[in-house]
């Protein structure tokens, strides 16, 4: 089985540059746990895919190595940061690819490219060998063209790993095999009001249609509020950049990476190496993260964000007291044009409105191809429906996605070969 890997998953001896100039030529001395397990299960690693530098972006444009294009329309982004892996699966180059999802970096590109993407429960897949962006949020996450393939790959890569202290000591994820796989009778699905409200009308319509199919299968739809959703983006960006500022401190030109000597002093070499090696968005986030941890600002920003994170988590705990799943759009919009949000970081951060809350809560969430919506130029582009489950209920997501797969048209549609070209 050919598998593509996001370029932040360590593959011994294979260049793993994380989309960064700084890590050009870096060949890890070891395999990530997920890579080791894939290879042991017979997979063939066919290559490393394009990404936003160190996972920081929602369009895969923040890279030192060019820009990937959406197979449905090559003027548009495939999303990010795992854009390359999404494209590889959507374009039919590989049946499976791994990415990493920190705030939506697999779910959003899956949505924009019309494929399946699952962010497992935090800690369900070992992070050992996943180059860290934000350690308390990062999850190794697969793309596939069917829910069944997701079950297959998760059965291989998930499960206990003594090399990752945050990895759950549990066996690999087993698929649910219900007696009536095509029925969802009794399943209570909470429709996330804030996600729906954030979505463009076409996206909303496509999601509504998919949700109506869920209801036809027997699921009961109820609205859920998730009242702290509006705080999730600032909370996420404070926590993620704080961790990133520390995680990326190691890129200093001492033991690996491309060194720039600078003024000849040690600290000057650090600064020159990082100046030359990091792109604008990475610098922006390192600065933001350094700032929110620095003396005098720590409590107001980082300390507060840790508390709001609790509130966001509790939103879901309350919701899951009533429902079995939460559902809503994965991305507020369909694929946007390349360059459209590149100059506006805040607009780019808003792309993550529906995905960061589940990341903060560590919950499993799946994006499935729900339908299509017309972009402003009339092009029909994929829309993803996001399903969120309680912690460790990853299999439930895939079971519901499987049931929907049979009744939706979107999963069967393939991106046109070279077809996105204008």
């Amino acid at each position: 089985m050919p598998v593509a890997l996001k370029s932040n998953l360590c593959c011994a001896g294979v260049e793993t540059h994380c989309g960064s100039k700084l890590l050009a030529g870096y060949r890890p001395p070891y395999d990530a746990t997920c890579v080791e397990r894939l290879v042991a299960a017979g997979a063939v690693i066919v290559g490393m895919t394009h990404m936003d530098e160190f996972g920081m972006g929602s369009s895969s444009e923040n890279s030192a190595y060019g820009v990937p294009r959406n197979p449905w329309d090559d003027a548009r982004t495939p999303g990010g940061s795992s854009g390359g892996s999404a494209v590889a699966v959507a374009a039919g180059l590989v049946p499976l690819a791994l990415g990493s999802d920190t705030g939506g970096s697999v779910r959003q590109p899956a949505s924009l490219c019309g494929v399946y993407g699952l962010k497992p429960t935090y800690g369900r897949v070992s992070r050992y060998g996943l180059v860290a962006f934000a350690s308390s949020l990062d999850v190794v996450s697969p793309f596939a063209r069917s829910a069944r393939d997701l079950e297959l790959v998760l059965g291989v890569i998930s499960g206990a790993d003594e090399r990752d202290s945050t990895c759950q000591p549990l066996p690999p994820i087993e698929p649910e095999r219900p007696a009536e796989p095509r029925r969802l009778t009794g399943l209570r699905v909470g429709v996330a009001r804030p996600y729906v409200e954030a979505a463009a009308p076409g996206v909303r319509a496509a999601c509504d249609a998919a949700l109506a199919r869920l209801a036809q299968l027997g699921a009961e739809l109820v609205p859920v509020d998730l009242p702290h959703t509006e705080y999730a983006i600032p909370t996420y960006y404070v926590v993620a950049t704080a961790e990133a500022s520390s995680n990326l401190a190691r890129y200093d030109g001492v033991a690996y990476g491309r060194r720039v000597t600078g003024d000849g002093t040690l600290q000057g070499m650090f600064a020159a190496t990082r100046d030359a090696g990091f792109g604008a968005e990475v610098k922006r986030r390192i600065l933001l993260g350094t700032y929110v941890l620095s003396a005098g600002y720590h409590d107001a920003w980082y300390g507060r964000a840790q508390r709001v994170r609790t509130l966001v988590r509790e939103d879901f705990e309350r919701a899951f007291a009533e429902v079995d799943l939460v559902a809503g759009p994965t991305s507020p919009t369909v694929a946007f044009r390349l360059g459209e949000r590149a100059a506006d970081p805040i607009a780019m951060y808003r792309s993550d409105a529906c995905t960061v809350p589940t990341s903060l809560a560590g919950l499993p969430a799946l994006s499935l191809p729900a339908g299509f919506a017309a972009a402003e130029d009339g092009r029909e582009l994929p829309v993803g429906l996001q399903l969120v489950a309680p912690a460790l209920q990853d299999a439930r997501l895939m079971r519901v996605a499987r049931a929907l797969e049979d009744v939706l048209d979107a999963p069967a549609r393939r991106a046109p070969a070279f077809g996105g070209a204008r």
Binding site: G123, V238, G253, R274, D275, L287, Y291, V308, P345, G362
Partner: protein, 99 residues
């Protein structure tokens, strides 16, 4: 703190070992200010009595036995090094003994 936003940015950049030219610093200073202004909603929220979430995992007490594992070959370390010097990693001469 009587620091201008640009001064704050420069101090923060120094902490993060990012060397920025003036244009870059000014642009980033504007960006960060705009982002933080956008994030002000956080400041308005009442978080009194809320327990902070310290990390991503609910686990506790994860430990390993004190058993040696094979080390990595030195060549494997030095293969990625920008300036390998015999058995060592070379860096610009420094007299500091601490950061």
């Amino acid at each position: 703190m009587d620091e201008s936003p640009l001064e704050t940015l420069r101090r923060t950049a120094a902490l993060a070992r990012l060397r920025l030219d003036d244009a870059e610093a000014q642009g980033l200073s504007r960006d960060v200010a705009a982002i933080l202004a956008h994030f002000q909603a956080l400041a308005a929220l009442d978080v009194a009595g809320v327990v902070p979430t310290l990390g991503g995992t609910p686990l506790e007490d994860v430990k390993r036995a004190d058993e040696p594992r094979p080390c990595m070959r030195r060549d494997a370390l030095l293969a990625n090094a920008p300036d390998p010097r015999d058995a060592f990693l070379g860096v610009p001469k420094t007299l500091e003994t601490d950061a």
